[in-house]
């Protein structure tokens, strides 16, 4: 029972982690809480649904398609709503603009698709595997594996590639980086693209896992993923992963052993607690590699 809940928690948590990565990377570079990030995740879930229903593709193609779509969407949002404000407006203005984008995108989807929940068509035969006392569905395995792959890929990209190096430089000091010949606008754009792609992957997998997508799914998921990013230490990539997984597990265990009616309060309770007790999160600033 406990092990099963743990796996459920990790599955949920890996989606939080995928979303949290986008928050943390963007925050690391331009100190903005990209409030619209949850809506990008929601658009990802719908993009996957669209591909599956219309073209009958398999889950991996749907994932890649949704990721590509959200890359563009993420870059577009940055270009339209954030870049004009950068450098001349306060952080408060930027945050309010982000909230505006968030409301705009979720309402747009609600107008296009209605506010009801849409189910994902069954695109995967779900097997259940028994590993001793543990029950695992093939879907859970896919989600955990894909998430792990994406996160490892991200880590490698940040550590090994030129782009990753430029991103790390920008998160240390944007001005200095631009003096070194890095085009900060481009790096910021790429950061949005990568973060959005990861969120889209999360969206598709959550959509399939819970068999439901709806226009307002991003708001709550986004807020919780942000809590996860803070829990892990905002600006820290490994922190976002750890924070996401921890939050997922805590939430599932809280529902299983305490009460389901307070499910949504758990994440925010943790957020407030972390900010008061240890605002730098689990991966404190000193050992943090910011990106």
């Amino acid at each position: 029972m406990f092990l099963e809940q743990l796996v459920n928690g990790l599955t949920l948590g890996s989606s939080y982690a995928l979303i949290a990565l986008g928050y943390t990377m963007v925050y690391g570079i331009i100190q903005l809480i990209n409030f619209a990030h949850g809506e990008i995740y929601m658009f990802g879930a719908f993009a996957g649904l669209f591909l599956v229903t219309l073209f009958d593709v398999n889950i991996f193609v749907a994932l890649l398609g949704a990721m590509a779509f959200c890359m563009v969407l993420g870059m577009l949002v940055e270009r339209v709503a954030y870049r004009p404000l950068r450098g001349k407006s306060s952080r408060l203005s930027a945050l309010i603009s982000a909230i505006g984008v968030s409301i705009f995108l979720s309402t747009l989807m609600a107008l296009l698709r209605g506010t009801n929940t849409t189910r994902y068509p069954e695109i995967l035969k779900i097997h259940t595997y028994h590993l001793g006392p543990l029950e695992l569905s093939s879907l859970q395995i896919i989600i955990l594996l894909v998430s792990a792959l994406l996160m490892i890929g991200l880590q490698l990209m940040i550590q090994r590639t030129r782009l990753g190096k430029a991103m790390r430089a920008c998160s240390q000091d944007l001005d200095a980086a631009s003096l070194m010949g890095i085009n900060p606008n481009r790096i910021i754009s790429y950061t949005f693209a990568i973060g959005s792609a990861l969120a889209a992957a999360g969206g598709v997998m959550v959509g399939i896992y819970y068999n439901a997508v709806w226009p307002y799914m991003g708001t709550m998921a986004g807020l919780k993923a942000f809590s996860a990013a803070v829990l892990g230490g905002i600006g820290s990539v490994p922190g976002a992963m750890i924070g996401g997984l921890t939050l997922g597990v805590l939430e599932i265990l809280g529902v299983a052993y305490l009460s389901s009616s307070y499910k949504d309060a758990i994440a925010f309770g943790i957020l407030i607690l972390v900010l008061i007790v240890r605002p730098q999160g689990i991966m404190g600033q000193k050992i943090t590699k910011k990106v």
Binding site: Q31, L32, I33, V80, A81, P84, L85, S89, S90, R91, L92, S93, A94, L95, I96, S97, I99, G100, V101, S102, I103, F104, L105, S106, T107, L108, A110, L111, T219, L223, F226, S227, V230, S261, Y262, D264, A265, A267, F268, G269, L271, I272, L275, I276, P279
Partner: protein
């Protein structure tokens, strides 16, 4: 008085005016926190619901007199403003915003599960004690007191904190203390507005005080102009009436809100009236110098 008014004014317009009055009280509270002091609060509906539920429960279950209930609602909201403010106001602006969202969500979930508040169904049968006269008397009183406060030692220090916190400290301002004070004032006005709302609608439910309500209130502050009382009033009137006047596009209301926030931040971050002062207006209007057109 209300009976007299209802003879001459259509009930629907009267209703709208009452809503505007209540919203002005709520928005002036948020204006002090976010517009004047510069602390982004995105959980104003949370404080509002604390005031509404406290006042309503005292009226319904405990048979308290209306005024006592109203006062209790405002006080309870202020107390939560204090509790939330004290530890979290040391945080940087956008962390604070997230905490206020989290706080409002926790409050909402609490009332969803709160037996005396009728859980998800909500609380009905609240005695109707509020009408146009009372709401507008209070709104006008609060506008006057607000204007006085903002043009005083305390009000100036609120603005100073928004403009430059380090310089404010260097001028002898205990910024943490004053930010908590701003939060308490704002929360108590939200609580008061909530109590009035409950005793006007006679029915409240947790979904009346969701995240979107907080955003709507924030929009009113931002549209009118951060920190300006005439701005807050104008923003409130426009955004209370707009969805009613534009019934046809009601569905698109939130779409419009979202786009409005982005466009305002890009093109007019100070809102409609945020940086326009009576002084500048006077200077232009009563310009004594004789000038011709520039050649």
């Amino acid at each position: 008085m209300d009976a007299l008014l209802s003879q001459y004014i259509d009930a629907y317009y009267l209703h709208l005016m009452v809503l505007i009055g209540i919203n002005i009280i709520l928005v002036l509270g948020l204006n002090i926190i976010t517009g004047v002091t510069g602390q982004l609060s995105m959980g104003h509906a949370g404080f509002m619901s604390i005031g509404a539920y406290t006042a309503a429960i005292m009226s319904v279950h405990l048979a308290f007199p209306f005024w006592a209930s109203l006062l209790a609602g405002a006080t309870a909201a202020a107390a939560f403003g204090f509790l939330l403010g004290l530890p979290t106001l040391r945080l940087e602006g956008d962390y604070l915003a997230m905490v206020t969202i989290g706080f409002a969500e926790i409050v909402r979930v609490f009332f969803l599960n709160f037996e005396p508040g009728g859980k998800a169904v909500g609380l009905s049968g609240i005695p109707e004690h509020t009408g146009f006269t009372l709401v507008w008397t209070m709104a006008l009183l609060i506008i006057v007191l607000n204007a006085k406060l903002l043009n005083s030692r305390i009000g100036r220090s609120f603005y100073a904190i928004r403009e430059n916190e380090i310089a404010a400290e260097a001028a002898g301002i205990n910024t943490t203390r004053l930010k908590v004070l701003a939060f308490m004032i704002g929360a108590s006005l939200a609580g008061l507005g909530g109590g009035l709302y409950a005793h006007y609608m006679t029915y409240i439910a947790p979904q009346d005080f969701g995240f979107m309500k907080s955003i709507e209130l924030l929009n009113m502050v931002v549209l009118g102009g951060m920190g300006s009382i005439p701005g807050a009033i104008l923003g409130t009137i426009v955004l209370t009436l707009a969805p009613e006047m534009l019934r046809i596009v009601a569905e698109y209301r939130l779409l419009f809100y979202g786009a409005l926030l982005v466009l305002l931040m890009i093109f007019r971050p100070n809102g409609l009236l945020g940086d326009i002062r009576w002084y500048d207006f006077k200077k232009r209007w009563f310009n004594k110098g004789v000038k011709t057109w520039p050649s």
